[in-house]
């Protein structure tokens, strides 16, 4: 019989893969959605089991050799605390957004292709999970392309509501493919130098090189990987694809993307910079310390400024996401315990908060038909629960105490001070101030405006949307108060990433 426990790592990817393919058989009506919810729910359960197994075993990581080939030759799945955590986040958010998606998808996608839509949707989640769990550099590329291809198609499905979804999607496709090609190139250069594709093996081979710091091939590999990854995680100024893609994608897709896609990009950066090149090379031999910090700081400030100017709430949140990526990147490029921990915590917190907020906007689009500021005006009276969720999420973006956003910013600032980078602390504060301004813009429209047009007749969002929204917003509050789980996992993951270095 199938030994679930022994095959847990591969089942996490296999369940949604098979589920996604079978979803094409489900026909019309509510069945595709139901099936997707079951599949993503099962995946989520498996990731929980994975986390518990890992915590219970006391091992630093669990390795699974696909095809029973020794990991140096075959492909290895490798779960440590960091990616068990990210897996949990991706699968969890994937599950909640799937549950949420039913009405929103019914509203926005032609009903003769729901089965295909959900198949592609689950395959996108599969790709993201696969990137997170694998220990093989080339496998990362293949799964990256699965998740990207599906996401391009999903974004383009916003075409029936607004044709600009198509151009946004194509632009993402071009930039995303260039980014992926850079990553492929970087992996090629690394393979040429090390002769292997296993990440751990690559790392030990690199360390064995006498001229690691001066080898020009490694240097260029590093540069191209960083550029490619920055494109994928939308680090300023390579974020050009993100705002429009998030704005014009179907509501459910925006929520899934905002909560998971860029986060997995950041996770890849962790794996490549810390796992393959090692902290010593990435942050001490290379100037990436300053380059990444500089980009992140610029990103925090400029994208928040742009966010203030937006008149569409979705694109406002999209620009805010670029800024939040800035915080995450700033955290890990400090390369000290608090900074990296802050970065990991923020991946989780931002995923939960942004996911919830985009879902709330989706509910508004479902009831009102749009997410422009003019649609939001006065909704606080008509849809108090949805508006309340949006406002609470906004507080989390600012980093208000007792929200999850506060915890990550706390870690970040202490990390910056540990590293003697008081400037970064200032940037974080300025960023929070700007966040206050743009969140206030939303709150003002919601609670202090007079409803007009369709807004005036809007009723509260249906329960099937409200529950997932409030689950995520509730989580963002809960993990702002009780930080024991996230902070504990993040600090332990950070110390293992840094590998004992200060």
């Amino acid at each position: 019989m199938l030994d679930i426990q022994a095959n847990l790592p591969v089942l996490i990817v296999l369940t949604p893969l098979l589920g996604g393919i079978i979803a094409t058989f489900t026909g019309r009506g509510v069945l595709p959605w139901l099936w997707s919810s079951i599949v993503t729910g099962a995946t989520f359960a498996l990731t929980i089991q994975m986390m518990m197994t890992l915590l219970g075993s006391g091992e630093p990581f669990i390795s699974y050799e696909l095809g029973n080939w020794p990991k140096w030759w075959g492909i290895e799945y490798r779960v440590d605390l960091l990616n068990a955590f990210i897996l949990l986040v991706v699968a969890g958010i994937g599950f909640i957004t799937t549950v949420y998606a039913r009405l929103s998808v019914q509203d926005e996608i032609p009903n003769d292709r729901h089965n295909v839509f959900y198949a592609v949707w689950i395959l996108a989640i599969t790709g993201l999970l696969g990137i997170t769990i694998t220990g093989d550099a080339f496998n990362v590329y293949v799964l990256l392309e699965i998740s990207s291809l599906t996401v391009y198609a999903l974004i383009a499905m916003g075409k029936d509501r607004d044709r600009r979804a198509l151009t946004a999607s194509l632009r993402y496709l071009i930039l995303g493919s260039v980014g992926a090609s850079f990553i492929l190139l970087g992996i090629g250069y690394l393979m040429m130098v090390t002769g292997t594709l296993n990440m751990e093996d690559m790392h030990s081979q690199l360390l064995r090189m006498p001229d690691l710091d001066t080898n020009r091939t490694v240097l260029v590999a590093f540069a191209f990987l960083v550029v490619g990854l920055s494109l994928k995680m939308a680090l300023y100024p390579l974020h050009m694809w993100l705002p429009k893609a998030y704005t014009y994608a179907p509501s459910a897709v925006s929520a899934l993307l905002a909560a998971t896609a860029t986060k997995v990009g950041v996770y890849m950066a962790f794996r490549f910079l810390f796992g393959i090149f090692g902290v010593g090379f990435s942050f001490y031999a290379m100037p990436s310390h300053f380059v990444l910090l500089g980009m992140a700081s610029l990103g925090i400030i400029f994208s928040s400024l742009t966010a203030i100017r937006q008149t569409n709430a979705k694109s406002l949140l999209a620009y805010s996401s670029v800024g939040q990526i800035g915080y995450i990147v700033a955290g890990f490029s400090l390369a000290n315990a608090n900074g990296v921990a802050g970065s990991i915590v923020h991946i989780f917190n931002h995923a939960v908060t942004k996911g919830g907020m985009f879902m709330a906007l989706g509910a508004i689009a479902y009831r009102v038909g749009g997410t422009d500021m003019k649609h939001l005006r006065g909704l606080g009276k008509r849809m108090p629960l949805t508006a309340g969720a949006l406002a609470l999420g906004g507080l989390g973006l600012i980093g208000f105490p007792l929200t999850a956003g506060f915890i990550s910013k706390w870690y970040l600032v202490s990390g910056a001070l540990d590293a003697g980078m008081w400037q970064l602390a200032v940037v974080v504060l300025i960023g929070s101030l700007f966040a206050l301004v743009y969140v206030w813009k939303i709150i003002e429209a919601l609670f202090f405006g007079e409803p007009t047009g369709r807004t005036a007749e809007a009723t509260e969002a249906p329960l099937s949307m409200l529950i997932p929204i409030w689950v995520l917003i509730g989580l963002s509050i809960y993990f702002g108060v009780d930080t024991s789980f996230t902070a504990d996992v993040a600090t332990r993951a950070a110390s293992s990433l840094l590998g004992g270095l200060p």
């Binding site: 392309e145 075409k159 151009t167 194509l170 496709l173 260039v178 492929l184 090629g188 393979m191």
Partner: protein
Amino acid sequence: MTELLGIYNYWIYIILMMIGFYGVIAKKNLVKQAIALGLFQTGIFLFYISMAVVDDGTAPIWTTVGDGAMKALGPYDNPLPHVLILTAIVVSVSVLAVALAIIINIQWAYGTVEYDEITELEREEGDADA
């Protein structure tokens, strides 16, 4: 001189890649961009295959002799990059297919596939929104 000859093959791949890259950035026709993206990726494939070559090597296929046992004939080229590129070619054609599907949709929605004309149309639309 021999050193330069030895790495010149890699330069060709860089040239090919950059021709594609230039096309991706500079061309305003979306179909052209998609094709240029293909060129760009082929350049990378050329790099991978180049690194698999061994002096006097042959294709990495063993020869079977009479009773079905396999014999090595001599130095073989490295099969690992070949395998990776097989996968990458498949990925690139999938990307091309999806890109073209989106481009056809753009043609239906905007009536053109020229980037400039689309931006013009979108700007008008944006003004109408505001």
